[in-house]
Homo-oligomer: 201 residues x 2
Amino acid sequence: MLSLRERKAAKKKKEIIQSAVSIIGERGFHATTMEEIASKLLMTKGSVYYYFKDKQDLLYQSQKMLLEQSIHNIETIIEEKSELQEKLHKVLTLHVEYLLKERTGFEIGAKPEQLFSGDPLKEILSLRDQYSRYIDQLILKGIEAGVFQNVNVKIVRNLILGALNSVIEWYSFEGQKSKTEIADLISDYLLRILKKGSSQP
Amino acid sequence: MLSLRERKAAKKKKEIIQSAVSIIGERGFHATTMEEIASKLLMTKGSVYYYFKDKQDLLYQSQKMLLEQSIHNIETIIEEKSELQEKLHKVLTLHVEYLLKERTGFEIGAKPEQLFSGDPLKEILSLRDQYSRYIDQLILKGIEAGVFQNVNVKIVRNLILGALNSVIEWYSFEGQKSKTEIADLISDYLLRILKKGSSQP
DNA sequence: TAGAAAATTAACTTGACAGTCAAAAAATGA
DNA sequence: TCATTTTTTGACTGTCAAGTTAATTTTCTA
């Protein structure tokens, strides 16, 4: 079990990540200074460097955290026992909800190629890939089971994820609709790409 | 008519913009230096400052150019005489094709709030808005004419644009499909969100 | 072709920020 | 309580890039 000290350190790390994410999310990675990140927590830059190797490391750990949680989310739903269509609907809905919850964090990570290189980049891309493959599997199973139309799986998956991720840019807290309502509506619309119409056998 | 000198200057401006866009597109705005932009054209930084007020200005003018061309594209199609569905299909297709043609330029401009502020930001957002409104109109007309399902226009428009714009991130030149094929396929899939199925009256 | 206007250069200033480090402060625990 | 370990500090360094400018070179034109 973790000592009090270790748990305190872990908490501080999380706080620093949150501070970093919120500022970087607004201003962008390069425009954000370590001093800003620190001073938001009433700390000095030096302290931040006590917990993180460098600026890259800070960003990398925050992105890894978000992606791992996303994968955990999708795995939970996939293990549930329900109809394929309902499952995919749930996956899309949760995707939107988690995206909006961790809005700034995901905004930052949109273009990992510009943020990371080498092994960290590989790791981030591989986590994204893992997530995409889960969705591909759901679509493929749906096609095989005759629930969905026959489509180019990768293209449709990319379109769906692209549409979902864009919600970050246009969902406004001012809007009439709650996050849950929006998530549900979006998922309905996007499933139409896959659902069988009258013209198909 | 423009003098030779003016035309030369305009050409040089374009070259600088292209150089800037290609480097910024790869590395990001803040990570790109004016010296890099200049040296790609065998120039020095000072020359670039002769044509552009500052780094922001250079970026702003490149974005404005792209958006104005996009608006011109959509206006051309809207003026054509064809069925609503076909018109929207053409708009989506051309959107993808132009996006992939000017790939890096659009990649940069994805988050204008992080790049601009004040009047330039307003101008960029207003151009984007103008483009969106054209699409809204097409969808709305389609609904009114009974060609499309009744949907929340703004949400569906945002989903469609989000999906379309994501193509920048995943379309690979290695892929089997040409840009035209991809554009066509994507437009087909996305129109399914709007097309009437058998369940609707 | 000479003189003016336009364009380019290279050296310079300025400011900012990432990352370091020795010393101080705080927490721990015997 | 006091010695030891952990954490924090803030001043410092080195680097790097934006933007300026005076001097030079090129281009135009009368």
